[in-house]
Structure formats: C-alpha cells, structure tokens
Subunit: 349 residues, 3 copies
C-alpha cells in the first residue's frame, strides 16, 4: 500500500502535505472512495473536487490551491494518474507456461517466460519472444513473429507471416493478416487477386477488439511504432500508418492510403484509398476523408449538429431547394440590371 511520499518520489510529483497518507487503489472523483487516489484533469469536474471522498487527489498546479486535503501536484495530472494506476493493474499479469490444451506446432520454441493459454494454437514456423502472452483461443499463423512482451489478449487471429514488434497489445477478436479485398473483373464475375504481402507492426502498438487489418496485396500493410487503434476499425491492404498515430473506433481506412505520424483520427471516420495524410493531422470524428491532406492541420467533412428530426426535415428541404433559391436570386439581380461575372460557374462547379 504505497504512501503519497513514495508516489511523489517514484513519479516525480510535488507533495505539499503529509507524505504518510497511504492509498490502496484508484477511483473516480465523484463521489470517490475512501482509501483511494483520484485525479482532476477535466475542468468540468472542478466543482466535484471539494466533495470527493477519495483519500487523495492528483491535481494540476492551477488547481492545487483549490483543494486543502491530501494531494499530489503534477504538470499533467492525467498522465501522472495513468502511471500511478498502473501500480494497481493486475489484469496483464500471468503465470508462464503452456496450457495442456494449447496446440503448439512441433519446432516452435516457447520461452520459459511466455504463456500460451487454453485452446490457443501456434502454427509451424512461428517465433515467440520472451514474456509473450498468447491468450486463450488465440491463433498464431505460420511463420508469424511475436516480439518480446507482446500480448494477445484472447481469441486473437495473427495470420501467416505477420510480424508484431515488442510490447504490442492485441485485444480480443482482432484479426491481423486477413486476405485483402483484392478483386479483378473477369468474364464470368470477380476473380480473386492473390494477397501475397503480410502485415508488419512496430513496437508498443495497440489494436482494439474485433478490429481487422488486412495483409498487403504485394507489399506489406504497415503500422509503425506506437500506433494505437481502437475497436472495430478496418485497415485495408497496403495501408501505412505512421508512428504514434491514434485512431478512434468504428473508423475505416481504404487500401494503399498513407497516414503520417502523430495524427489523431476521430471515431466513425472513413478514409479513402490511395491518398496521403501528412504528419500531425487531426481529423474530427465522423469525417469522410476524400482526398490527401497536408499536415499539420485540423480537418472535417461535415459538422452537422444533432437537432429534432422536425428541424432536420426543414434543413434538408432548404438544401434541396438551393437550386431554386439561386434562380430566384439571379432573377432579382437581372431585374436590377446586375451583371455577374461568375454566373456560368453555377451548375458547372
């Protein structure tokens, strides 16, 4: 049970008060739990600070004066909280060993520090790093590579020849290395275009639950170091995602698109194929990225706010009337003898 003094020293935080206060876990700020540590990062929760039942709070410098109780002061309270909370996180701990029901192909070496769970399958030629966790029901295809410290949570599929770096975390149900959607029109219907590439994933990448990443058609699909993907994302063949880019859930990226480093892509977005997105691009949620985007910059494709269905029926009717509205305006201009230079552009845009 760490004390505030120990936490301050370990994580480089300021400790204005009693170093002997101990905490046995973390909690939310409202209402908070006795004996536990919470944090304040979202300014909207500032009025919950005074009343929290938590034993101590991590606050930023600006908020330190607002709270008289036990506290730690951090430049970035959320980041400090993340690091402290990790002390209490047992969810990734495991006992090394291969479960009796796991199917490891002959010739595959599983280090003594690694774990292969119940009903997991590792096919021939796969390489398993130190301290790797292959969760129950996971499948590791032929000649796949799992770097040191990588974790396949449960029921993950890693396809043939897929390479994962170090400390990669794949959440349940994710599929990495499925066949890309390569089709050519033949005389009798679609013919499959073989997908001969694979997927290469760098270090410290996270892939969300039930997310899918297709293998490349000829070259590989690539996720560089530190990429973070949320749940139910589709990454098509030959996409390349730059280091430390984060993509929120339900987003789709079509084939052969390149996304730069340190981008943030909002949820439920759709990114067209064969385009280039620069470094440090922020894409708002629910955006359709139809063309290449230079970075840095913040982009959107539609920011319609939610209203009553009745109001939206009116708005859409007005948009559908815009051609008529323009005609009325042109008629007025004509009546007043105004000549427009750009009149021909209207329906040719």
């Amino acid at each position: 049970m760490p004390t505030l003094g120990e936490l301050a020293q370990r994580f480089g935080l300021e400790l204005p008060g009693d170093p002997a206060v101990a905490v046995d876990g973390v909690c939310g700020i409202d209402p908070g739990q006795p004996g536990k540590l919470t944090f304040l990062a979202n300014p909207r929760l500032r009025d919950k600070l005074a009343g929290t039942r938590a034993a101590a709070v991590i606050v930023g410098k600006a908020d330190a004066a607002r709270y008289a109780g036990p506290k730690l002061v951090a430049r970035d309270p959320y980041l400090a909280f993340a690091r402290v909370a990790a002390l209490f996180d047992r969810s990734s701990e495991f006992l090394p060993g291969v479960h009796a029901s796991a199917q490891v192909a002959p010739g595959v070496h599983v280090p003594a520090s690694a774990h292969v769970g119940a009903a997991a399958v590792i096919e021939a030629g796969a390489r398993v790093g130190e301290s790797v966790f292959v969760g129950p029901g996971s499948i590791v295809g032929r000649d796949a590579v799992l770097g040191d410290g990588t974790r396949l949570d449960a029921r993950v599929v890693i396809g043939e020849r897929v390479q994962l770096g170090k400390r990669v975390r794949i959440n349940p149900g994710a599929v990495i290395g499925s066949r890309g959607f390569g089709l050519a029109r033949g005389p009798k219907g679609w013919e499959e275009v073989p997908q001969l590439g694979s997927v290469r994933i760098g270090d410290d990448v996270e892939v969300g639950a039930n997310t899918t990443i297709d293998r490349g058609a000829v070259d590989d699909t690539v996720l560089e170091d530190g990429v973070k993907l949320d749940n139910l994302i589709q990454i098509a063949h030959n996409v390349r995602i730059g280091a430390h880019t984060a993509i929120a859930g339900c987003t789709g990226v079509a084939g052969s698109t390149r996304i730069g480093a340190r981008c943030m892509i909002g949820g439920a977005s759709t990114i067209n194929g064969h385009i280039d997105i620069g470094d440090d691009v922020i894409v708002m949620g629910f955006t359709t990225v139809t063309k290449s985007l230079a970075g840095p910059g913040q982009y959107a494709s539609s920011m319609w706010s939610v209203e009553t269905a009745r109001e939206w029926r009116r708005i859409t009717a007005r948009v559908r009337r815009l051609g008529r509205t323009e005609e009325r305006l042109a008629a007025l201009e004509k009546r007043l003898g105004i000549e427009r230079q750009d009149a021909n552009d209207d329906e040719n845009a």
Copy 2:
C-alpha cells in the same frame, strides 16, 4: 402440433373460427406455406392476405374482417406471432454437460443444468448459474459471473470480472470487457491508462454478433436490464445504457456517455463521449449525436436522401457556393438600401 384453440387459450387471443385447425410451424405471409401459421402486422402486406397459402393467420382487429380463412385475432399481431413462433424454436435447446474438450479451471462449479461446449474455456473464479449455456469456443475470464439462464452462443469473450445477469444472450464473436481506449500523452508517445473497471450487464440483455463492450477505466461500464444491442456495435468505457434501450447495428457510443431508458437508437449512428441522452429518446439512423439530448423526443443530424451521383454533385456545389450566394444577397439588399441588424452574425456563427 398445436391447434388454434390451444394457441388462443395459451396466448389470450380471439378465435372467431374452427378451434381444431392445427399448425406445425410458422411462415411468412407471401406466399406462405400449407400447414403453417403466419401473421399480418405491416399494412403494406395487407394485399397479400387473401392469397396466402398459410393454414392460418394472426391478424389485428382492424384486419379480422378482411380474411375469411382460419385466423387468430390479437391486439398486437407481431407480438402474438413472436410468442407462438417461440413454440417452434429449437435453436436454444441444449443437453446439459461439460464437453470433454472444454477447459474449466479447478474450483469452478458448473451446475448440472448448465452446458459448456467444445473448446470452451472457463477461467478461475468464474461463477456459472443454473441452465447457463457456454457455447463452443467461448472464453469466460477470471472471476466473471454468468447469471441463471444466460447463453453465450459461440466463440464469445467475457472478460475478467464481467458480470452478466439472468437470461442474457450474447451472440457469436461479441467481446465484453476488452480494454478501454485510455491513452495519455507522454513525452515519448502515448502511455496506456490502466482500465481497472469492468462491465456489469443486467437481466434479459441481448448483445449482437461481433459487438464490443469495453470495461470501464475506474468505474464500470453498465448495461441495465432489457437492453438490446444489434451486431457490430462499439460501446466504449464507462458508458451507461438505461433499461430497455435498443440500439441498431454499426453504431458507436464513445466513452462516459449516459443513455436513458427505453431509447431507440437507429443503425450506423455515432454518439459522442461525455454526453447525456434522456429517457425515451428516438435517434434516427445515421445520426451523429454531438451533444446531450433531453427526452422524450425524436432527433436526427442529417437526413440527406440518396439521389443520383450527378444530382448530389450539384447539391454539394450549391452548398459550397452558399458563402457567395449570401454575398450576392447582401449586395442586393445594399443596393435597395436595406439595413440588416444581424449582418455581423453571418461569419461568426
């Protein structure tokens, strides 16, 4: 093979005709199948009533006079049909017992009324209720709880400490309790924010195929009694969904949002994080809910109808010209000496 007389008595339906007519299954109304029972609920199918080959029809009071053949009359024909059809549904029946290939951790008690299928895995500390069905390839994490009568169809993942109530049905491929997408920016890239909460699900909940529900960051993600989720839905960490709310497929709900009771959320919608949606809210399909919504009410964010691509190119060009259209209008107003009070609002809205 039940007779109309037996069905009328069992389900409280009116029977204007011969009680001895027997049916051995259910069918659609068009063309219908001899020997089977159908129903009429959708008014658009009313003209199919006379010609159906079904042995009998469940109709509402308004339609009863239109059909001379064998029939049952119900206040809600669809609901009555659902209940009758359940008599013929064998898909959820199972023989109790633990398959020889299932991996049940030592110390876990599987009641004699429960079934654990082939290649299923139940980890230490899990609690399995009476008449639970753990389908083939399903994984039940440490200390998870499955209430009486709950069914994991096949290849479901139930994470650590996740609690499911009674008569919950989880469809294949769903993942409940995956790590939430909690990240903090550190000096060298994203750092994981531990996700220490879990997921609590009430009674009579259904979760669709390949849907994902993340565990909470500190507190739990919660689905109250009677919530119904379709396929390929993403529920982020710390979302709370009120009782009897139904959400259609391909919808995403971002973190910490609260949705009230008895809401209906249309498919392919996106719901922002940290907002509140009241009780009895109806959200049209394909809506982006960007802000909190009071209930009851019906909401949308865009109701653009599908048209030829040519017509849509015109519509979007007009919308992109709107700034110019406003300028032309303002020039006319100026020429006519009209002074506007609200002119300054235009580009500051």
Copy 3:
C-alpha cells in the same frame, strides 16, 4: 520458375520479346524487385514504368510501346496479373486430415481431401464437402453444409443449418447465421422474435474478416453466387444479395432489403431495411440509401469533401442560416413586387 513464354501461352497473353525470361514471383511496380513480375494498370503509375527494377511487366496495349524491357501484353493487365500471381500464392494450400485437437461430432463424415484444423469444432449433422478447409478455432453448427472447396480461414462461426456453396471463402472472425435483431414490444419490455430461418450462400462467395450475417426470421438470408463482402460488414436478417455484387468494408444492410446482381456498394455505406436495389447499381462510398433505387445507375447521398475544420464550421453555419437567407430573399422579392407561385411550398417540403 515459369518463363514469360509459358505464362503467355497459359494465360493467352501477347509476348513481344524473349520467351525465355523467367520470373520467380510478383512485385509492385515501384521500385519493383529483380527476378519478379509486375504490372501497370493504374495510369497514375505510368511514370514508374521506365524505372522499375522488376524483371518483366504486364502492360495494356496502349502502354506496350512505352516499355522496351521484357513484357507481356494483356487486354486487362490487372486481371492477367491476378491470374499469374495465383501461381505464386501458397497461402491456401493445406495438408488434408483432421487435427488431433479438432472436435468432430460422431456421424459427421470428413472426406479424405478435407482439413479440419486445431481446436475446430464440427457439430452433429454437418456436411463437409471435398477439399474443404476448416481453419483452426472455427465452429460449424448443427446441420450446416460446406460445399466442395470451401475454406473457413480461421476462427469462423457457421451457425446451425447455414448452407455454403462451392469454393466459398470465409475470412477470420466472420459470423454467419447469428440471431437476427428481431424484437417485439411487450408489456414489460422487448420480447425476442424467434429467428427460425437460416443463411444460404451460393458458390464462389467471399465474406470478409469479422463480417456478420444474420439468419432470417422466417425465410432465409440469401447471398447468391459470386457475391464478395469485405471486412466488418453487417448483413441483417432476410437480406437478399444478387449474384456478383461486391460490397466494400464497414457497410451495413438492414433487414429484408434486396440488392440486385452486379452491384458495387462503396465502403461505410448504410442501406435501409425493406427496400429494393436494382441490378447494376453503383453506390458511392459513405452513402445512406434511404429508399429503393432502380438500376442501372450511380447513386450518392452526400459528397461533402473534407476541408479544414474552420471552413466546415463556416459551411455548416451557412446551412443553418438557410431559413433566414430564404426570408431575406423573399423580403427583397416582396419589395420589388415579385409574386411567387411556389411560396407556400417552402416550409412544407
């Protein structure tokens, strides 16, 4: 290691140069790899042709004169490349046999030409065709049918009574035959409507990773021959998709909709329930199909292009001001004594 002469003869291609040049694989055009064959189909890559390091190129007739090196000339270079590349694709090869850890129910006949992988489960009454591949962790439900040459890649779920034709390919994580989202309002909340139909899939169909296809409520959900579905697609109960239609990723199709033959549906689209889409319809990506569409034709519902978030805030503000803009226009018309015939339509549209 085939020579250009052998490839030309086998695939009916023109060979203007040395037939003895041999290739040992395929590669991309830029930069290309020595010893391998590439192709040029995308006109945007034409300037990469001269500098490619590939040993030979498949080109169209129009580009043949541009390249002096070893080449094959095809009417459709992409299709020709697909067929040649298939010679080098080993990913679908397998050794017949049933893995010791597979669970095949008593009475199920697995032909000697078929493979059942590790931890796979085949339930009672299932029928397995010649040369079928049941990948690791896959589950084949009761009375399901797998036609000759069908492949379940890994960890696929095929539900009860689902029928797959010949040479069907199901990618990892796909779920076929899950319960449709059938609910009826009862006095105490939603009641399940039994889903008694199943799914019938024709020959040469592909289903993408983590895609879901629900079984029908009363009749079956149907995919005709040659249908191609990408990843993370949702097909609801009783949908019918015509032959050779292709649907890109992240698309949802709601219940009872019929899609014709040879359609192409762009990614991230949403298709309403109970509508009819004709043959040879092209739907642009990110379209909401709200109503029936006659074929042939090209359709869209919104083609907003991506811009800076600042520009989109302006555009949306102008759209929200459209009611006011129309009022200003009407005031001008009134001032000028213009009478409009259609004025009453405005807010009733």
